[in-house]
Amino acid sequence: MKKAVIISIVLVAVIALLRFSLFTVAAGEAAVVTQFGKPVATITEPGLRWKLPGFLHRVHRFDARVELFNTQPIQLLLGDKNPIIITTYVAWRIDDPLLYLRSLVRRQTAQEKLSDMVISALGASLADYTLDHIINAQQEQVKIAELERRVLDTAAAQAREKYGVQVVRVGLRRLSYPSIVADAVYNRMRAEREKEARKYRAEGTEAAAKIEAATDKEVSEIMADAYKQAEIVKGQGDQAATRIYAEAYAKDPEFYDFLKSLELYQKTFKPGTTLILSSDSELFRYLNSPEGRR
């Protein structure tokens, strides 16, 4: 009876002891154990850990995963005095939990301080770069990655030393121009496009004129050719006609005269035609006597 009670009490005590002196640090976490405010252990590996129970040892846990925030957009000057508005992102994590705990920063303030560090490092580094290093149609001339690396190195060294924080990556998230510069860019874009449109139109007009001239030339050539051919054909036709007439006349001049006169009559006398002529006229030769006597 008594044994059972004692066992129960011991069991409860052991469980309580375990409950208050065992703790786990999960993956993605880091912890610092303090004894009345004095750090006694730093834990960066996950697993099951011991500490003195209760208030004797306190566990401070931190999220050791990479956190990311954006800096406020800020206007900075490039080496060639071009103003540019840059927004960056900063990825960081707690690297040395003890130093982080001692520096008394909390996430919000840590981000503000990191943001200041990154912006000042960016401002200093930008002096060594011109706009051509930031934007360039030749891809290999763009040095944004190099700039980011420099800012990262500068900020990371400070942050590690002061706050136990590792800056993992810094990147340009957005590039903008102050509105006056943006307006100038818009104006230039407009002018370039207008020029291009004019060029296309001019090319179009030029092409049209060329086509017109070529067509005119072709037309006159064809016309000349056609005239030439017509003349040749006409000449040949006349020649043939003359020859045929001559041949016909040679065969029988009398019959030729007769036919020619008939042809003339046919042409001259239409129904209702009245002719007043001397009966001796040559015209009536074949009307007076079929033999055609004079």
């Binding site: 976490e29 099951l48 990479v66 990311l68 992102y89 944004i144 990147g171 296309y200």
Partner: protein, 224 residues
């Protein structure tokens, strides 16, 4: 038998019964406790088992499994089959992030091209979880990180290209280089995410110069 004896017996009997009852309850609680370690992983998920906070099994396949009960093991289920979609509208005139930026600075949102022109773009990214343990324990906010890295990659990529290529034939090339650049940046941070698809949508010159760009197209048509 004295009355004391009989009452004593009754007491003893009732005590025994209570003890048995307590034992029975204790045993069933123990069985229930041990049984609480049974868990299932859905077909679209992968389980990650943490033993005292340390990763004990990073990839438990779908099905019924057993893990030691609380407080030893903890199981986190990660939906690896889900393809997620993120719309990066930071550089588009009507985006949510663009309007935040406008209220902060009074400036329009755009990207600057390599030949110092301005374009607006919106970009859709599809991604999924590739490595559940890295996904859980590397980043505090994966989506926020992805968005920033995507904006960074777009800024980088367009800073090295001329506007004519961007607006006409360069789209596929930009998509590929953004996809690769983004994946490289995600891997550097051990994000455990894999980008499956990047699409640029609505790539165009800003409204201020749209009319002139349209006129160039008209001029080209006029030419022919």
């Amino acid at each position: 038998m004295t009355p004391e004896d009989s009452s004593h017996m009754a007491l003893r009997w009732s005590f025994q019964r209570t003890a048995w009852f307590a034992l029975w309850i204790a045993v069933s609680l123990l069985v229930l406790y041990l049984a609480s370690g049974v868990y299932s992983v859905e077909s679209s998920e992968v389980g990650v088992v943490l033993r005292f906070g340390r990763v004990a099994d990073a990839a438990v396949p779908p099905g019924i499994h057993y893990a030691l009960p609380w407080p030893v093991d903890r199981v986190v289920r990660v939906p690896v089959r889900n393809v997620r979609r993120l719309s990066v509208d930071d550089f588009h005139a009507e985006g949510v992030f663009a309007s935040n930026f406008r209220s902060l600075t009074g400036l329009a949102s755009y990207l600057v091209t390599g030949d110092n022109n301005i374009v607006t773009v919106s970009c859709v990214i599809q991604y999924s979880i590739h490595d559940p343990a890295k996904y859980l324990f590397s980043l505090t906010d994966s989506e926020r990180t992805l968005r920033s890295l995507a904006a960074n990659t777009l800024t980088h990529t367009l800073a090295g290209l001329g506007i004519d290529g961007i607006l006409t034939t360069g789209k596929a090339g930009i998509q590929l280089s953004v996809k690769q650049g983004l994946q490289r940046r995600l891997d550097e941070l051990d994000s455990g995410l894999a980008v499956s698809f990047v699409e640029l949508q609505d790539v165009r010159p800003p409204d201020q110069v749209q009319a002139q760009f349209n006129d160039v197209i008209n001029a080209k048509i006029d030419k022919f």
